[in-house]
C-alpha cells in the first residue's frame, strides 16, 4: 500500500486516567478485544511489565502496542496504543507520549469524577491538540453517577461529554464503542513521507542483547533498516539494524513511515543517548528543525545512598550502572560521608522514583541500603557573588559566606471536596504555601492553586493532604522556578559528634520546632546502647534541642536452656542480624529509619 494511503488507516492514541481509575484494565481489554493477545497470554494488566509496577498498580516504563482493528465500516485500521505513566513524577514523559498521538481516551471513574492528576494530563493533551474521547468507566459500580460525571467533564474541562462512552473495563462493557470512536474521531496522522526523517523518541529500553531499543513515532519521512540516523540534541549518529513494532510481541518490519509508532534498534549502548523528547533524523539528509518541546530532564530530588555493609560499595555502583541503562532520568555521583562512608548522591524525578530505585537495588541486587533523607536543590548565593547548587545539605557553606538562599517552588493544583477546603488551605499555609487561586468545579468540589516550596512536597505534604481529607484530595504540581527563602542548615549530633548524613535544610521559622521533634523521634528510633547517648539538634554552634537515649543496663541470658544450644544461638543470631541492619556511627549503632526520621516529624504537633 502506498504510504499516503496507509496513513489514513492509522490511529494513534493514549489513555489518560487517574491512578485507580482503570487505565490498565481498559488497555488489557482493548488488547483482548482486538485479538492481540490470546487468552492464555492474558495475564492481568499486560502492559505493566515490571513486578514493582504490578505491585504498586502504577506504570513506570512506557509501552506501546500496534493493534489491528476491523471497524464497523468494514475497513481494517492500525491502532497504536501508547501507554503513559500515571504519576506526577513522570509528567514530562507523559507530555512526550501524548505528543506522539492524535487522540486520547480520557478515563474518568464513574463514582469519583475528575481528579487533579487527570486534569493536569488533559491540559497536556489539549496543548498537543489531541482529540479527547471521554470514557466514563466503572459504570457497573453501585455508586456510579455517570450523569454527574458527564456534567463535571463539561464544566471542569469544557469538553463535550454528550457522546462519552459508558464503560466498564472490568466487565468488558463499552469496549467496541471506544474503538469505534477512536476510528471515527481521532484524526489520521498527517505529514510528508518523503520529507527528511523526523521521529519523536518517547521512551527507550535497554536490552542486554540488542542494546537500546528506542520507542518512537515517525512524524515526517521514513525510517528503514540500514539507515544512518542522528539524534538531534546530541548529534550522535547510529546505524539502524532493526525496525519494528510491538503487537505486543515484537515484530520486525521493513520500515516505519509517517504516522507510525514502533521501535528501532541501532547499536546504541546507553539510554542517555536516546533522550525522551529528542528528534531522530536522517544523518545523510537531516531535517533542519527538531520537533518542538524537547527538554533535558533534570532530577528534582536527591538523596545519598550508602551500602550498610561498606564492602558492598562496588556492588552498589554496579547496580546503579545497570539501572541507569534503563533509566535516563537517574543520576548518581560518588560521595563520601564521614558518618556513612563511601556512597553515591543520586538524583531522581521525584519521591516515587526514588523509592522505586531504592527498592529495586535492595530487591534485585540484594544490597542493603542506608538512604539519607531526600533533599531538593538549593541555590546558594555567596557573598563573593558566586552561586552554588546545593543538593546535599552537608555541603551548605557556613552562614557568614551566604548572601541568600533560594529554593525551588512548585505550582500545586489540589482538587478537594468542599468540606475539606479549610483543612487544605490551613495545610498549605503551614507548609509555607502562597495562595494563588480557587475555582469551584461544581457545587461539591474546588480546585485550589497554591505555590509551595518543593521541599515541603518532598517532606510530608502529600501524606498530610491525604490523611487530612480522608484520601479525597488529589494533587498535581509543576516546577515554576526558584524563590528566595530564609533557610538554615540544621545539624544533628549523636554523642557529641555531628552526623553529616542527618543534616537538613529548614526554614528558620520552623527550625526550632522541627529540631526538637526530630531529636525526640531519634530517641525513639535509635536503640539503647551500652552507654548514654545524647541526641542534639544544632544550628551553627547553637544547640536548640537535646534528648538523651538512656543506656541499656544489661543484656544477658540468665536462663537455663539445658543442652539446647540452638535456641541460644538463634537468639544471638537475631541480635547480630539486627545489628547488621544498622550503621555504626562513631560507637553508636543507628538504624536506617533514623536517616528518614526527618521526613516523619509532624510540624503541626
Amino acid at each position: 500500500m502506498d504510504r499516503r494511503e496507509k496513513l489514513k488507516m492509522i490511529r494513534n492514541f493514549s489513555i489518560i486516567a487517574h491512578i485507580d481509575h482503570g487505565k490498565s484494565t481498559l488497555a488489557d481489554r482493548i488488547l483482548e478485544y482486538t485479538g492481540a493477545l490470546s487468552e492464555r497470554e492474558m495475564t492481568d494488566q499486560y502492559l505493566d511489565k515490571m513486578e514493582l509496577e504490578k505491585e504498586r498498580g502504577i506504570t513506570i516504563k512506557l509501552q506501546s502496542v500496534r493493534l489491528k482493528y476491523k471497524a464497523k465500516d468494514g475497513q481494517e485500521y492500525i491502532l497504536n496504543l501508547i501507554d503513559t505513566p500515571g504519576h506526577v513524577d513522570f509528567s514530562y514523559e507523559v507530555s512526550r507520549s501524548l505528543q506522539a498521538c492524535e487522540g486520547a481516551l480520557l478515563v474518568v471513574d464513574a463514582a469519583q469524577g475528575v481528579e487533579a492528576q487527570t486534569l493536569a494530563n488533559v491540559y497536556l493533551a489539549l496543548e498537543s491538540d489531541l482529540e479527547i474521547i471521554p470514557v466514563i468507566n466503572k459504570i457497573d459500580l453501585p455508586s456510579a453517577e455517570p450523569e454527574r460525571v458527564k456534567q463535571e467533564i463539561e464544566d471542569v474541562i469544557g469538553l463535550d461529554a454528550s457522546e462519552a462512552v459508558l464503560a466498564s473495563a472490568k466487565a468488558g462493557i463499552g469496549i467496541e464503542e471506544i474503538l469505534e470512536q477512536v476510528v471515527e474521531k481521532v484524526p489520521a496522522p498527517s505529514g510528508d513521507p518523503d520529507a527528511p526523517l523526523r521521529a519523536l523518541i518517547f521512551d527507550s529500553y535497554y536490552d542486554s542483547y540488542k542494546g537500546v531499543i528506542v520507542y518512537m513515532r515517525v512524524v515526517e519521512g521514513t525510517v528503514k533498516k540500514g539507515m544512518k540516523i542522528k539524534m538531534m540534541s546530541t548529534g550522535k549518529t547510529f546505524e539502524v539494524t532493526e525496525v519494528g513494532a510491538f503487537t505486543p510481541h515484537p515484530v520486525l518490519m521493513d520500515e516505519l513511515s509517517v504516522g507510525e509508532v514502533g521501535f528501532i534498534v541501532a547499536g546504541i549502548k546507553n539510554v542517555k543517548d536516546t533522550r525522551v523528547g529528542d528528534t531522530i533524523t536522517d544523518a545523510n539528509n537531516p531535517a533542519t528543525e527538531p520537533l518542538p518541546g524537547y527538554r533535558k530532564i533534570t532530577p528534582m530530588v536527591y538523596c545519598g545512598m550508602y551500602p550498610v555493609d561498606s564492602s558492598e560499595y562496588d556492588d552498589l555502583r554496579e547496580a546503579l550502572e545497570k539501572l541507569e541503562l534503563n533509566d535516563a532520568s537517574l543520576t548518581y555521583e560518588p560521595e563520601t560521608s564521614s558518618a556513612l562512608g563511601f556512597g553515591f548522591r543520586c538524583g531522581f524525578l521525584g519521591l516515587l522514583h526514588m523509592e522505586i530505585i531504592q527498592e529495586r537495588i535492595e530487591r534485585e541486587f540484594g544490597i542493603q541500603l542506608i538512604t539519607t533523607a531526600p533533599s531538593v536543590v538549593y541555590k546558594v548565593y555567596q557573598t563573593d557573588g558566586s552561586v552554588l547548587d546545593i543538593e546535599n545539605p552537608t555541603l551548605m557553606p557556613p552562614p557568614q559566606k551566604i548572601d541568600h538562599v533560594e529554593e525551588p517552588y512548585v505550582r500545586a493544583s489540589i482538587m478537594v471536596p468542599n468540606d475539606y477546603v479549610g483543612t487544605v488551605m490551613e495545610l498549605c499555609q503551614s507548609k509555607r504555601g502562597q495562595y494563588v487561586d480557587m475555582k469551584y468545579i461544581d457545587t461539591n468540589r474546588v480546585n485550589l492553586i497554591y505555590e509551595l516550596p518543593l521541599a515541603e512536597i518532598v517532606y510530608d505534604f502529600f501524606d498530610q493532604l491525604k490523611s487530612g481529607t480522608k484520601g479525597y484530595a488529589s494533587l498535581d504540581y509543576e516546577l515554576i522556578g526558584y524563590k528566595p527563602s530564609n533557610l538554615v542548615k540544621m545539624d544533628i549530633l549523636l554523642n557529641g559528634e555531628v552526623v553529616d548524613a542527618l543534616s537538613f535544610i529548614v526554614h528558620r521559622d520552623r527550625a526550632y520546632h522541627r529540631g526538637r521533634a526530630l531529636v525526640e523521634k531519634l530517641k525513639k528510633l535509635i536503640p539503647r546502647q551500652m552507654f548514654e547517648v545524647p541526641v542534639q539538634a544544632a544550628i551553627g554552634n547553637k544547640i536548640i534541642a537535646r534528648e538523651t537515649i538512656k543506656a541499656i543496663r544489661k543484656n544477658v541470658l540468665a536462663k537455663c536452656y539445658g543442652g539446647d544450644v540452638s535456641r541460644k544461638r538463634k537468639l544471638l543470631e537475631k541480635q547480630k542480624e539486627g545489628k547488621k541492619r544498622m550503621k555504626s556511627i562513631g560507637s553508636v549503632d543507628v538504624p536506617q529509619e533514623a536517616f528518614m526520621a526527618v521526613l516523619q516529624v509532624d510540624d503541626n504537633k
Binding site: M530, I552, R553, K554, N555, V556, L557, A558, K559, C560, G562, G563, D564, V565, S566, K568, R569, L571, L572, E573, Q575, K576, K579
Partner: protein, 379 residues
C-alpha cells in the same frame, strides 16, 4: 569418643507454670507407663548406634521427673543402669524435683537407683508470688522437702530461684535469698525470668498486663545476688550458678565445655558424634516412633568446624573462669587469636573480656552484657 553425660527428659508436670515453654504436659491422663517403655526402647536404639563408655553424669529433667510414682521411678532408674552400665566412681546423678513432690519412698528409690543430687525448683519464698507464677507448692513445701531429702541421706542439694518476676521487688529477692540460705543448700541456680512465646506470661505481656520490674531493678536483683552469695561461701562459677566449693554442677559444665551428651526423651536435645539433635516433642508421637524402631529425632544438625568453635566460645564464656586457649588449640588445631583475634581485642578494649595467661573470661561488665559478647563470636 562416646559422650560421658546422659540427659533424660520427663515431660510431665502436675500443672503448667505461667512462664514455662519447655516440653511439659500435665500428667493426668498421660500414658506414663508407655512413655517409660518408649524411653527404654530409645536408650536401646541409641546405645546400639553410639555405644556408651564410662558415664560421669546423668541428669533427669523436665517437666517434673518426681511426678513419677516410686515404681515408675524405679523402672526408669533401672533402665538407665541397664543401657548405661559403666559409671565413673565419681558420678553425679541429678534429678529435678518440685518441692512437695518427693515423698520418702520416692526419695529412697532414687537413692537406691544411684541419684546423688536433687535440684529443687523453689523459685521464690514469697507465697503469693509462687501462686502468681503458677507454682503449686507453698513455702512450707520447700523446707519440708529439703529436710526430708537430707534425712534420707542426700548431701548435694541445689535450689533454683527466679528473679525479675512480675510484682517482684529487690526486697523480695533479698528476703527470698535470706530464707533460702537458712536451708544451706550446696548450690544455687538463679535465673531471670524470660518471657517466652506461647506462655500465659507472654500473652499478658503482649496486652501490657504483666507488671515486670524495671530493668534497673532487675539488674539490681542480679547484682545483689552476685555480691551477697559469696559472703555465705557460694562461689559464682557461671552466669546463673553458684556453689559451695566442689559442688558445681558437673553435668551442666559438660554443656558449657561444649562436650557431647546423650539426650533422651520427648523434646530432649542431644549431641553425639558432632551431630546435635532435637527429639520430637509430642508424647504420643514420641512413643509411636520409638515403637516402630526409629529414634524419635525431629531435627538433626551436623555441627561444622566453625560452628563448633563458636559454640565453644559462647558456651565456655558463660563460666566465670572462661575458656582455655590451649584447650581451644588442642580441639581445633588453630590458635584462638587466629580465629577470634580482632573480636577479642575489641571486646577487651570495650572492657568486656579479660585475657589472663591461658584463659579468656568475662569481666564484670561482660557478665552484664553477655549477649553482646557472645553474639560477637558468631562468625
Amino acid at each position: 569418643m562416646a559422650p560421658k553425660a546422659v540427659y533424660i527428659h520427663i515431660p510431665f508436670c502436675t500443672n503448667k507454670c505461667h512462664y514455662c515453654d519447655f516440653t511439659a504436659y500435665v500428667v493426668d491422663g498421660q500414658p506414663v507407663e508407655d512413655y517409660l517403655a518408649a524411653l527404654e526402647r530409645e536408650m536401646e536404639l541409641t546405645v546400639a548406634e553410639v555405644p556408651p563408655g564410662e558415664i560421669e553424669t546423668v541428669f533427669i529433667g523436665g517437666g517434673t521427673p518426681t511426678v513419677l510414682n516410686p515404681q515408675q521411678m524405679e523402672r526408669l532408674l533401672l533402665s538407665i543402669r541397664t543401657y548405661f552400665p559403666h559409671w565413673s566412681n565419681e558420678w553425679e546423678f541429678t534429678i529435678e524435683a518440685n518441692p512437695g513432690t518427693t515423698g520418702e519412698e520416692l526419695l529412697e528409690v532414687m537413692q537406691a537407683g544411684g541419684v546423688n543430687r536433687i535440684s529443687f525448683g523453689a523459685q521464690t519464698f514469697r507465697p503469693d508470688l509462687l501462686q502468681k507464677i503458677g507454682r503449686i507448692h507453698g513455702v512450707e513445701d520447700i523446707y519440708r522437702s529439703v529436710e526430708q531429702a537430707r534425712s534420707v541421706g542426700f548431701d548435694n542439694i541445689s535450689l533454683d530461684l527466679m528473679f525479675g518476676l512480675p510484682h517482684q521487688t529487690l526486697q523480695d529477692v533479698q528476703k527470698t535469698l535470706i530464707e533460702a540460705l537458712k536451708l544451706e543448700p550446696d548450690h544455687f541456680s538463679c535465673y531471670s525470668l524470660k518471657i517466652e512465646e506461647g506462655t500465659l506470661f507472654h500473652h499478658l505481656y503482649e496486652r501490657n498486663e504483666l507488671p515486670l520490674p524495671p530493668e534497673e531493678e532487675e539488674l539490681a536483683m542480679y547484682q545483689w545476688i552476685r555480691s551477697n552469695l559469696p559472703r555465705y561461701g557460694y562461689i559464682q562459677y557461671e552466669i546463673s550458678n553458684f556453689s559451695k566449693p566442689g559442688k558445681e554442677s558437673r553435668h551442666n559444665s559438660i554443656y558449657w565445655l561444649n562436650e557431647e551428651y546423650y539426650g533422651l526423651g520427648a523434646g530432649a536435645h542431644g549431641y553425639m558424634n558432632k551431630v546435635r539433635h532435637a527429639n520430637v516433642k509430642g508424647v504420643k508421637e514420641y512413643i509411636h516412633q520409638v515403637q516402630h524402631g526409629k529414634r524419635p529425632v525431629l531435627e538433626r544438625h551436623e555441627v561444622n568446624a566453625q560452628e563448633e568453635m563458636e559454640n565453644f566460645m559462647i558456651l565456655g564464656l558463660r563460666m566465670l573462669k572462661g575458656v582455655s586457649c590451649t584447650r581451644f588449640y588442642s580441639l581445633y588445631h588453630k590458635r584462638i587469636e587466629e580465629v577470634y583475634g580482632s573480636v577479642i581485642e575489641r571486646l577487651v578494649e570495650q572492657g568486656m573480656l579479660t585475657v589472663q595467661d591461658d584463659r579468656i573470661a568475662l569481666t564484670e561488665k561482660g557478665l552484664i552484657y553477655g549477649n553482646e559478647v557472645f553474639a560477637s563470636f558468631l562468625i
